[in-house]
Symmetry: C2
Subunit: 410 residues, 2 copies
C-alpha cells in the first residue's frame, strides 16, 4: 500500500474512543484504592471478541499478566478487560495471584461471562497487596455504557502519574464496510517497553480470528509501543491488548486478504498515536521528542538507533534546556551498537541542520533555540549508508521528573 | 590470594597521588581554553614506562583516542600523557585529527621524547575545533614536577563538570620491593563506560612488560570502570591509561609471577577507588550508590544486574528521595536480562531487609529513611540461585543533574 492510499483511506476520528467500534462499552469508577480520582474500569464487548496481547519482557511479571495470558490462551476471545490503578499487584506472591484470579472471577460473575473471557490488568505501586475489600465491590458496581463519557471515565481510571487521559480513534473501509479502531493507554513512568508496553487497550469492530490479530499486533508493537521510552525502565506490568468484535461484518481478515495491509496500517496508526500521547505525557515532560533515523543498514538498526537517541538522558536534558547539542545526539548514535560510518552522518534538529557528512555546520543558535521552545521536537538523522528507516518517541527530562519520582510512594 | 592477605598486604596511601610511584612527575596549567580553572596537564615519566590502555566502545571515537592508540601500539611505552579539558576534540573531522597529532608533536618536542612516547586525551564539548593557538603554548609551558601539589594541579586540569579532584594511591610489596600505584580520574557526566571509561590515569613503579600490563588492566577494568554509570551515556572520549615505570625494581611481572594476583588486586583497588570517586561526583549527585548482587548464575550476570539496578533512573530518584522503593529495584533486576528465579529474591537497603524470598518484609520506614539520608547507600540483592557475585556503583538522580545538563553548552 502506498503512502497516498494510507493518507486517503484511513481517517482520524477526532471524537472517537474505545467505544466507537461497534459492540464496545466502557465504565470507570472510584473504588477508593487511590486517594482520589477513578481507579477501576472495564472495557466490555457485547460479543466474544477476538483477542491478542503482548506482555512485558521483564522476568518479574505481575500476577494480572499471568491471569490474562491464561484467559487469552484458552480460547483467544475476551468479553471484558478489568483494570485497576493505584496498585500494580506485582511482587505480591501467591496472595497476589489469588487476588488477580478473584478480580477475574468477580468480573465474570458480574458480567455473566465465562472466566476465561475476562482479562485483568493492574498498574501502580509494586509490592503491596491489593485491597480486595474495595476492589470486589468496585468491580460489582461497574456498569459499562457506550457513551464517550463512559469511555473517558475508563481512560481516567487507568492513569497513575499521567496528567492527561489518552484516547485515539481511526476509521477505514475493508470490504466496503466501515471498520473502526479505538484506543486508550496509560503511561508516564517506568516506560521502556520491549515486546510490550505500559497499559494500552485497542478495540476494533473488524472481523478477524485471534491468531491473525496477534500477528498484526506483534508487528505493529515493534514499530509503535516498543519505540517509546520515558526513562528506560521496563515495568513488570506492561501489557497491550486488542479486542476485535467482528461486528463491522467485513470478510474475516488474514494476511492474504487484499486489504490486510490497510488493516495493519490502521492498527499501527492507532497504536502510534497512543505511543506519542504516552511519550508526550511522560513524567515531568514538557515536550514530545521524535527521532527519525534513515540511511541505516536495516529498519531494525534505524529503530534501535532512534530509540537510543531519544532515550539518552543527555539528549533529553538538552531538549529541556532548548540546546541544539548535536554532540550528545551523535554520541548516543555511536553507542547504539548499530553499523555506521563515522564520516557520513547528517543531523538536523527540526529545520536546523547541525551536522552534514559528520562535519559541524555553522547554524543559527537563535533559530535552533526558537525551534526547541516548541512542544514537539523532531530530530532527523541520516546515516547515508543504506535504506533502513525507523522512528522513536520520548520526552524531555526535567526537574519535575525528579520531583515526581523522588516522592512517588509517599 | 585470600582476602586476609589482601587486607594486610595492600595499603591505601592517604596522601599519595600519581606522582608517588617512583619516576613520575606532573603539571597542570591554565591555557585559557576554559573560562576559568586549569585546563591542560601532563603526566611525565623519567623513563619509558610500559603502557596499557582501554578505550570507549562508542563507534564515534574522538581524534585523541586514535592518536594515543597509535602511540601505544608502536612500542607499548609512554613518557608523557598530555590532557586538555574544555574541548573533547570529538566529531572535528580531519582538522581534529591534525590537531591531536599537533598536541602530540608539541609535547614530544617540549619533553624531548619520541612522538610515539606521547599519548593525548581531551574532554569537554563535542564538535568544536580545538583552539591550537592556546593549546600549543600551553603545552610548551608545562613543567612537570614531583610534588603532590603538581599532581593536584594535573588532577584539576582534567575536570569538566566534576566538583572534586580525584586521586588514589595504594602500596604493596612485590619481591620484597615496595610497589606503589597512583591514580587520578575525571568523570561527572556522559558516563556508562564499556570496556573503557571516562578519563582515568594510573601510574605505578612496578616492573612489567606492556602486554602483561594490558592483561591486568583489561581484567581490572571489567570489575571497576565498567561497573559505574552516571547517566547511561557512553562518551566518545573515554580512556583509561596505566603507565608502569619499572623503577620499583621488582622482578618483571607476568601471570606466572608468584605475586601476580597481588599486583592485579592492588591495581584493582586503585581503579575501584577511582571508580567510586567518579560515581560519587556524578553530575548533581548527593550520594554514592553501591549495588552488590550475589547468588547469581555467574559473576558476569551478577555484575550486569548490579549495573542495571544502579543505572535505573527510578532507583536513582528513589534514593535521592530517601525512599526504600524496592519495587523499582526488583523491576530493574527483572529487565536486566539475567537468569533469575522470580520467587527466591532477597533485597536489603543498607541494614533494612525489604524483600525475603520475593516476599515483602514489613520494615521500618523510619529506619530505612534514616539510612537513605546518609551519603553512601548500599543495596544488597541475593538471587539465591548460584555463586556469582558482582558490584556496581552509581549515584542518585537529582534536580542538579537536570540543571547542569539543560545548560551545559551555554
Amino acid at each position: 500500500m502506498s503512502k497516498m492510499e494510507t493518507a486517503t483511506d484511513i481517517t482520524e476520528v477526532n471524537d472517537g474512543s474505545i467505544i466507537t467500534p461497534i459492540g464496545f462499552k466502557a465504565a470507570g469508577v472510584y473504588s477508593k484504592v487511590k486517594k482520589k480520582r477513578r481507579d477501576l474500569g472495564v472495557i466490555y464487548c457485547d460479543v466474544p471478541a477476538s483477542a491478542a496481547a503482548v506482555y512485558t519482557l521483564n522476568k518479574i511479571q505481575a500476577a494480572p499478566l499471568q491471569v490474562s495470558k491464561e484467559s487469552i490462551e484458552t480460547e483467544g476471545k475476551l468479553r471484558a478487560i478489568v483494570v485497576n490503578s493505584g496498585n500494580a499487584n506485582s511482587c505480591t506472591g501467591k496472595q497476589g495471584l489469588a487476588d488477580a484470579y478473584e478480580m477475574r472471577n468477580t468480573a465474570a460473575e458480574t458480567f455473566e461471562v465465562p472466566d476465561h473471557h475476562v482479562a485483568v490488568a493492574s498498574t501502580g505501586i509494586i509490592g503491596e497487596k491489593l485491597n480486595m475489600e474495595k476492589i470486589v465491590p468496585g468491580i460489582q458496581s461497574l456498569q459499562p455504557q457506550s457513551d464517550f463519557e463512559d469511555a473517558d471515565q475508563f481512560n481516567e481510571a487507568i492513569l497513575t502519574t499521567d496528567i492527561v487521559k489518552k484516547h485515539t480513534c481511526y476509521e477505514t473501509t475493508i470490504d466496503n464496510k466501515k471498520v473502526t479502531f479505538g484506543g486508550t493507554a496509560k503511561g508516564s513512568g517506568m516506560i521502556n517497553p520491549n515486546m510490550a508496553t505500559m497499559l494500552s487497550f485497542v478495540t476494533t469492530d473488524a472481523a478477524i480470528e485471534p491468531e491473525h490479530l496477534q500477528t498484526a499486533l506483534s508487528q505493529v508493537t515493534n514499530k509503535t509501543f516498543n519505540r517509546i521510552t520515558i526513562d528506560g525502565d521496563t515495568s513488570t506490568n506492561d501489557m497491550a491488548v486488542v479486542m476485535a468484535s467482528g461486528l463491522a461484518e467485513n470478510d474475516s481478515l488474514t494476511p492474504s486478504h487484499p486489504e490486510w495491509n490497510k488493516f495493519v496500517k490502521a492498527l499501527e496508526m492507532a497504536c502510534e498515536d497512543l505511543s506519542k500521547k504516552i511519550a508526550r505525557d511522560g513524567e515531568g515532560a514538557t515536550k514530545l521528542i521524535e527521532v527519525n533515523v534513515k540511511g541505516a543498514a536495516t529498519d531494525e538498526e534505524a529503530g534501535k538507533a532512534a530509540k537510543q537517541i531519544v532515550g539518552s538522558d543527555l539528549v533529553k536534558t538538552a531538549v529541556f534546556g532548548t540546546d541544539a547539542n548535536w554532540g550528545r545526539i551523535i554520541c548516543a548514535l555511536g553507542y547504539s551498537e548499530i553499523s555506521l560510518d563515522p564520516d557520513t552522518i547528517d543531523i538536523a534538529v527540526g529545520p536546523v541542520v547541525t551536522l552534514k557528512d559528520s562535519t559541524p555546520v555553522d547554524f543559527s543558535e537563535t533559530e535552533a533555540k526558537a525551534y526547541l521552545e516548541q512542544d514537539t521536537i523532531v530530530i532527523d538523522v541520516n546515516l547515508n549508508m543504506g535504506t533502513g528507516t525507523g522512528k522513536a518517541w520520548g520526552c524531555d527530562l526535567t526537574y519535575d521528573y525528579v520531583r515526581i519520582n523522588a516522592g512517588y510512594r509517599s
